[in-house]
Amino acid sequence: MRYLLEYAAARGMLCMLDRMDLAASERLATRIAGFWFLLHGMRRRVAIDNIIRSGITSDPKEAQRIARDSFRHFAVLVVESLKSGECFNEQNWKDRVRVDINPETMRLLEDPRQGIILVSGHFGNWEIAAQLLSYLKPVAGITRPLDNPYTNRLMESRKPRNRFRLIPKHDTDALRFLKILRNGEMLALLNDQHARREDPLVDFFGRPAHTHTSPALLHLVTRTPLCFGYCLRTGPMQYTVHAGPPLHFAATGNREADIRTILEALNRLLEDAIRLHPEQYLWAHRRWK
């Protein structure tokens, strides 16, 4: 019953969004985010605490402002992700998107036989990033389905896909990552969520956090170029897609040390990006459990 009620609420929200233009949708989403920020004490406290302990600011008022803006940014992200199919297509996407991709990385993206591992975080608009990059190369991302199967199916059906597909986190095909890279696709991984206890502790903003090893391991065993990138929101449905140069790390025989070297490098790149635009990061996640 709870699932059905949630599904009904989600359908209602989506119907309302469909009838509103982008500006009105974003105004509504921003207001809802503001209320959510006030009402959801636990997430608010997590966000503020994370911002202060990351050294972004030591001023509690400034931390609260960034946290609130982060909630609003996330609400706008949802709206723009759901409406992006109306705005972007293969012919017009560069009208609204500035492409800031390293030339060597761009050559890899334009080679249909070359797989690439793109690592990012919950920063900017990661949903639209995948859609936009799929205009350059087919993209595969990993997803954990929502607990509510009705809402999950609804949200999946609404997301614009182009050449962007999502594969379930717990897929039984052990070779799926290798097949994606062999097919010349981009494997897009968000590597800033709390990982398993058995995953290594790697500093993120100076504090150890369990970090997923898959991007590092994939790079080491396949030697597929590894790249860090993100998609920064610069205005309503306007973005800059950044991707740095391909990163290359050699296996030394010490698997744990090799993995740590790569993950530390990726974390530093994400930290540097977040420091420039902290309001576009998902601070409410309990990264340092």
Binding site: G115, D171, D173, A174, L175, R176, F177, L178, K179, L181, R182, T213, S214, L217, L218, L220, V221, T222, R223, A251, G253, R255
Partner: protein, 81 residues
């Protein structure tokens, strides 16, 4: 190395990476790799360990079509094991 020697070495390497309870002594050339308890992460650990243990340079994507332990051993022998 013979196929048997390669398989013996593979058993030891696989035992380290697999999460499943397997009777590794019973692993034979026709044993399917998919029943040996590897998921999409531990299979990467396995490939890394194989590359280091056998000191072989190969693209991990080359193993995508391999189904059995015997096929894996033959592949490694072709690569110089």
């Amino acid at each position: 190395m013979t196929q048997q020697e390669v398989i013996a070495q593979l058993r030891a390497v696989m035992k380290r990476s697999s999460k499943a309870r397997v009777d590794w002594d019973a692993v034979q050339p026709d044993t399917k790799i998919e029943i040996l308890g590897f998921d999409s992460l531990s299979i990467l650990d396995l490939i890394y360990d194989i590359q280091q243990e056998f000191k072989l340079d190969f693209e991990a994507e080359e193993v995508v079509a391999i189904k059995t332990v015997g096929q894996l051993a033959d592949f490694l022998m072709k690569k110089g094991a």
